[in-house]
Symmetry: C2
Subunit: 432 residues, 2 copies
């Protein structure tokens, strides 16, 4: 198809990405006199903070994801397209889609998010699974559950040990959540279900390059998280740099070798390819450097928000968190709705309402203003806040039921191993 | 690993397959003085009667599937293995697994089920999706949802029409359920969510070779089902033989061509490869012909049950239904528990407690003894019975909530398109 024109008189807003930034921007524009086209590579908005629970067989993908089209169905000025933006022509104000279709825009909001980064070690991608998409989560679930199945069939002691060793690289919130959840899975959920192996003997190692985990939190909370992980039996390897990863395990920079069949990667993300194709300044993580109005330098009608933007506030780039993206989405939607020229835009200011990380059943840390919570109160806070933020009544209710059931039964509701397409048989993968 | 021996003194029962037949057999043997090894190619028991709801984005896979290992966790005499049986050595009473491992048995229960059969047209497998596994259901969900996404991006009128035409081949219960569910999806769930296409204009065609659908039911119920499908806008093509299927549509034997991007296959199944590798008599559908005690001819310690067995009762082979497999599983478990020699076994007798098929929201047929139900009462009966039979409190409750939510909101809870592994990008698939 050729270049599509916007309806006469109404400016067209093209939003790239249906994550927290893009969706909140579109919602702010629900009643504005604009035509919106929201483009996403998937058909669903994903509640990323709970993605690790899909990877850990606690929730089903559909419980934390909803069709973008469905979320915006009543917003008549908005059209949703499943597609990928190949490039942006800043001079012509045109976006080119993957199939060559061109889309004119008057306002452009880039909110395409981030992807897992292996810091140049592309070969690690196949052996160390990242966690950014639903597919990633299902792949991790598959690998972790399959490791136990393979161990049950294995006959060699060293092999069993390798199959029951799980290394998580990266001690940020995702790494901490994954490590805690694997330990719980092995030590409570799977206990008594195998006859040849004892899942409680599974070993979980959390590797981080810093001198403490959860570096973004106060040191006291890092310490508390480390203790809570210790109670779950997770081994911490701090100040440890990963030298190499292969299908048999991890080699650290100090020469230590950890034999492990399953390695998960939570050490870094970078902006998607799109940001680097723009020809504008980006930071080391590939994020577009934007001004205080979230606009690109010299491009007052073009914004980048969320994980793909680098916006400096109080001397620091804002972190890649959902609330940042949501607040930026709303801010940019407001600028567009009010058609504010550059000089009349008040600078965006992120309001931090608190951050938290969960470690396991009844275990978490939370940092809200000056208040530091840990253990059970932090976990309850985490539970309530994440439930409230989940989109859709059904999802909230089903997740509540699923969590309550998991809590009381020590079971997980989504322990399926599904085959990957193109793979001859699940059974071959299960062979030890 | 070499040949594994059973524990001294306790006979080993090897059960192949964790479906209804295998699972019910294992459960009957829970307290018997035997060692059980249950082998399945997947890690989960699947509630097949609701699989079409996964394909139609109504339920998540985990809501109708549960880990076999978990279901049998408290049964200490039972070991569950993820694996595939490659062959059976009847003389040595040994089962060979896919990796060459050998397993001795004293009693062998084959309950490996059936797979989709294209009656020799292997090329159709890629273009006409069958519905036997969780992966099948996710693939159908992906194709159906993607067809609407592609149509929204398409610009050519004929192409849009082809993308919005869905052909279901086979007018048995699965075909009827799929056809009705696609029509509902298009005409209610997706209505108002697209801007360029009108999903209500989607066309669903149900093709069957017989002179009525649901041939196993009384003619009055077939008639009622046809009327109910008609109310949903499904087009019936009876006495129509499929001549060819390709990526663009279906050609019927009378020369008619139906241009359709999505074709679903519900026309036939046959027993898995295992049954033919045994060297014993099989019927045209590859099913092992068994005696009235479910045992193979001349093999009193070896049974075949469920979809992979042909057992003649009242002059007819029993149909491939869950209750048949369940009752046979219990029967065989009983024979083994009581170590009954061939001559003391009472013949298996299937008790038909009724069959039903659902057509859509408030639409179904049910045939229970001499009672024929259709419409709303049949649908309520269907709902209650299927909910009760679902395994696990959580699943039952979550499915109930999901159904209630779907019923009142006209939404579907699992409308995710997930990528297939090995595919470069979902977006390419979405290109019209």
């Amino acid at each position: 198809m050729g270049s599509e024109q916007a309806a006469a008189g109404r400016p067209r807003v093209v939003i790239v990405g249906g994550g927290f930034g893009g969706l909140w921007c579109a919602r702010r524009l629900a009643t504005a006199a604009v035509d919106i086209v929201l483009i996403d590579r998937t058909n669903h908005h994903l509640f990323q903070p709970l993605l690790y629970q899909v990877a850990m067989a606690g929730l089903s993908p559909a419980e934390i994801a909803a069709p973008i089209r469905s979320l915006l169905r009543s917003q008549r000025n908005t059209r949703v397209l499943l597609g990928e933006v190949a490039s942006v022509d800043l001079a012509r104000r045109q976006v080119a889609l993957d199939d060559g279709a061109l889309l004119d825009y008057d306002w452009l909001v880039l909110a395409a998010g981030a992807k897992t980064s292996y810091f140049g070690h592309d070969a690690w991608e196949n052996v160390a699974a990242g966690l950014k998409t639903v597919e990633d989560a299902l792949e991790i679930r598959r690998r972790v559950l399959l490791a136990f199945e393979r161990a049950e069939r294995a006959t060699d002691v060293a092999q069993v040990e390798q199959l029951l060793t799980f290394v998580v690289v990266g001690g940020g919130p995702t790494g901490v959540e994954l490590a805690g959840a694997i330990a719980e899975l092995a030590h409570t959920v799977l206990a008594n279900e195998f006859r040849h192996i004892d899942p409680e003997r599974a070993k979980v190692v959390l590797v981080d390059g810093g001198d403490r985990i959860l570096g973004g939190f106060p040191a006291t909370l890092s310490q508390s998280a480390a203790e809570q992980l210790g109670e779950l039996g997770v081994h911490l390897r701090l100040q440890a740099r990963v030298e190499d990863i292969d299908a048999q395990g991890v080699t650290l920079a100090d020469g230590q070798r950890i034999a492990a069949s399953t390695v998960l990667w939570a050490a870094g993300v970078r902006a998607t390819r799109l940001s680097e194709s723009l020809g504008v300044p980006t930071d080391r993580a590939g994020r577009v450097v934007v001004g205080h109005d979230c606009a690109l330098p010299g491009q007052p009608h073009m914004f980048a928000i969320g994980d793909m933007a680098n916006l400096v506030q109080d001397g620091q780039p804002l972190p890649g968190l959902c609330p940042v993206a949501m607040q930026q989405g709303t801010y940019v939607g407001d600028v567009i709705a009010r058609r504010l020229p550059k000089e009349r835009r008040a600078p965006f200011h992120y309001i931090d309402r608190g951050t938290m990380a969960t470690i396991g059943r009844s275990r978490a840390i939370a940092w809200i203003g000056d208040t530091e919570l840990h253990g059970y109160p932090a976990w309850v806070a985490w539970l309530v806040i994440h439930l409230m933020q989940l989109i859709g009544f059904r999802n909230r209710f089903v997740v509540l039921v699923t969590w309550a059931w998991s809590y009381f039964s020590y079971k997980r509701g989504a322990r399926l191993i599904t085959e990957r397409k193109g793979e001859k048989s699940l059974v071959r993968a299960a062979k030890a």
